[in-house]
Symmetry: C2
Subunit: 262 residues, 2 copies
Amino acid sequence: MKYLIVHAHPEPQSLTSSLKDVVVKELESQGHEVRVSDLYAQKWKTSIDSNDFEQVSKNERLAIVQASQDAYTRGTLTEDVKKEQEKIFWADTVIFSFPLWWFSMPAILKGWFDRVYSCGLAYGVGEYNASHWGDRYGEGAFSGKRAMLLVTVGGSEVHYSARGISGPLEDILFPINHGMLFYPGFTVLPPIVLHNTISVTEQGFQNASNEIRQRLRNIYSIRPIPYRKQNYGDYLIPSLVLRDDIKSGSKGFSIHKNGMQE
Amino acid sequence: MKYLIVHAHPEPQSLTSSLKDVVVKELESQGHEVRVSDLYAQKWKTSIDSNDFEQVSKNERLAIVQASQDAYTRGTLTEDVKKEQEKIFWADTVIFSFPLWWFSMPAILKGWFDRVYSCGLAYGVGEYNASHWGDRYGEGAFSGKRAMLLVTVGGSEVHYSARGISGPLEDILFPINHGMLFYPGFTVLPPIVLHNTISVTEQGFQNASNEIRQRLRNIYSIRPIPYRKQNYGDYLIPSLVLRDDIKSGSKGFSIHKNGMQE
């Protein structure tokens, strides 16, 4: 199979980068093809701006959605963005490797999504009508591909537990897993998470490495996060509110998983 | 009073930038002092890396937390970062103005938090003992200051409602409001949000402008989001799990607000 690793850490010898190396080595030893987008190493341009759209002159008002769609359609996106899009299409599975900084991903990785996820590719896709509200949330360009987060977290696991002060890690990651991955069609696997990264021991690193290897060996038998698809009857269209008779009285992120499968 | 606006949009004539201009104009007309960190205009360096820490040589392993703390303590942070930190200390209220891109802030603004929030300033502050787990979540360097988000959202409000497919906007913003603002001590005001930005009309813009002006006139009578402070008895220390007798049986982001005040 073909794996793309999108990696975001400035220090090649960091814990996060070392875990990424474990992933690459394990996948290669299994005979898979692996490509790595090491965003710091490739000096990824982080912020989307008018330089992303050569067809927009410097004096012209930049309307990003329109500019993005035009450049994607005409094939005039910058080479670095095109290359990342090609890598996603090449891959069967995409793994995002990063440290949790301020309850989200590092800016350089956010800039990968901001720039690579063009209009016409990752959003603004498909028909909008009374029974179908675009190809999104379970449908879209990346349908059939799997994605997974590999995240290192400074804080301890209990601080991110169901009633921990930082909020449940699953909810902290929902805007990424559901909003950035499920939205354009990826099947999303549960994340691999390493906590307490400030004080991790050699043994802790070995345990995490073993967990990663184990996971990668079983990756095709792991049950994905059972997010509900948008256009298959669970949601009213066009309000996209979950039907009253499903998880009645409940609200929040968790209702967007199909409880029958949990 | 003194207001800092941290603004993230590449196009000065965009809706988001125009709303920021409404904010500045209204605050100035009320006689307040206003400073703007227009991140695109000032070509903000987005990604944190070894260039942020002159004391770390290029061949040395970069341990970001340690490097950040050292540079902050010794006063050797880069000038652009020092200037932003000074602006925060100068301000009574900080307003963050940005479009919601992929269920989070633009990369350039995330890079502001990644780089400006040094160890020893925004985290790693205060004593850690059996009754006090650092100055964070309601205590910290920015205590006594207020912060508020001004967010433009492409999608419609109902898609971000309690049972809408995108998840409640309040929860989407929790990692920012609670994790990036309340954590280092800010008092967090409810956000101002404008939806359906793709199809906003002149009338819609006027309505949003009026809402902003109204809000800014009443900003000192608005009730902040009643997040629970970490070190005042609601949480067990050091697990930082909410006490069993508070919101018993509930979990998720919402339990970290004090329901008595809602």
